[in-house]
């Protein structure tokens, strides 16, 4: 009989993924918000069906639209998620607010314990921030814990703040991904899903797995 069990944690080590999703008014056109919703829904569905071999994937969604950011989905084990309520696009682009929420989450050891694997932050935006975002941006990139996160970024359309998003992404093998249409958004989410899933099943879940954006052969993702 195992006698040391009472000293052992009875939850798997978390692998947190935090999505910062732009839901400003401009996302409501050209099918962008619909593509974002489908991408998020498919990603969560895929995570929830993972066999969770080496880590427990936990998902959080922070939205920025309207007049302030919101914690749409607190960090939750993916296998406990029952569904995903579609996001509605409206208002401004308060990115700084969203970055502050993400920083607070990552620096909080009660929210993400030290035994967790390195978090993944995914930033998706189609425009320029409308609040004071520079200081929260620097805090997230340089925070004691948040600086260790893997960061992916996707700019949607021609009006995205490419410079800011490029500075955000820190995976040398996956610089800013630029989406021109709904299919590209789907491809990005699929690549993020595959990267995180690969990490969750890896012998070394802390090793970043590069994004591998597949070719545009998804015929069901036409505008």
């Amino acid at each position: 009989m195992v006698q040391l069990k009472k000293f052992q944690e009875q939850t798997a080590r978390p692998l947190p993924i935090i999505v910062l999703a732009d839901i400003s008014g401009s996302m409501s056109v050209e099918g962008k918000i619909e593509a974002l919703n489908k991408g998020l829904k498919d990603m969560i569905t895929s995570f929830s069906s993972e066999s969770r071999l080496r880590a427990e994937i936990q998902v959080s969604v922070i939205t920025f639209g309207g007049s302030q950011a919101a914690l749409n989905l607190p960090l939750t084990p993916a296998h406990q998620l029952q569904g995903f309520t579609p996001l509605v696009a409206e208002g401004m682009t308060p990115l700084g607010d969203a970055l502050s929420l993400a920083s607070g989450m990552i620096e909080d050891k009660d929210c993400i314990p030290s035994r967790a694997y390195r978090p993944v932050i995914v930033l998706i935006s189609d425009g320029y921030p409308t609040d004071d975002w520079q200081a929260p941006f620097a805090r997230l990139l340089n925070g004691e814990r948040s600086s260790k996160a893997t960061r992916f970024a996707m700019g949607i359309g021609a009006d995205a703040d490419v410079s800011m998003l490029s500075d955000f992404a820190n995976d040398p093998e996956a610089p800013l991904f630029r989406a021109e249409n709904a299919r590209d958004i789907h491809r990005f989410f699929r690549a993020v899903t595959m990267s995180v899933s690969a990490r969750s099943q890896s012998v070394t879940p802390n090793q970043p797995t590069p994004l591998q954006i597949t070719g545009g052969d998804d015929q069901d993702w036409e505008f």
């Binding site: 006698q3 000293f7 052992q8 035994r115 967790a116 694997y117 390195r118 260790k148 012998v203 090793q207």
Partner: protein
Amino acid sequence: MRLLAGGASVRGPAHQQDGLPNQDALCVSGIRGGWCIAVADGLGSRPLSHLGSQKAVQLFRRLTRQRQDWGHGEVAQVLRDAWLAHFGDRYRAYETTCLWAWVDAAGRGVAGQGGDGLLLGRSQGVFKVLTAQRQGFGNQTTTLAQADLPGCWSTELVLSLPGDGVLLMTDGISDDLVAEQLASFFDAIYQRQLRCSKRRMRQWLTTELHGWSTPCHGDDKTIAGIFRTD
């Protein structure tokens, strides 16, 4: 005064599944009436880290045998230099952590670590977590080769009372221990050591590590301890 030591190392489920070797290493050796113990955790991302971890514990044992005394401030540097000298320019393929302790027949010694893992101690009846709290996330490892960094340190040990001791473990164990239960965990190992030979202690620890209960655990697991029993 009586000193007992024990330890065990098991290959984790992830390495069993992938047919990879145990990348941890262990030594428990009697030296001049005292004991030297070391555990090491080869970096999963390095192809030959299982050899690097084995070499680290072997070098600690050899260096301890060669010396009559260790100044605790020199251990990390001496061990690091010896390890780097062995692997030379190819050392990155072999990178490993290392935790070590040596206690002489009088109950005095040194303990320290380079990289991840946990070092627990009880001296003069007072339990202490000797490893500083980690600021980052799991498996973000500094290594023995970086022994001049703040994550690498050593301290003197004085085992003056029965129940005093030192316990070393790799992060395959320490990351899954309940933080509030570390003193009780230390005591449970000590109580078992009291009634076990070195061989039976290894068997018991091996069974315990193979029966690890944390969901999804995958790491190799290695633990070693020295205890004063009277």
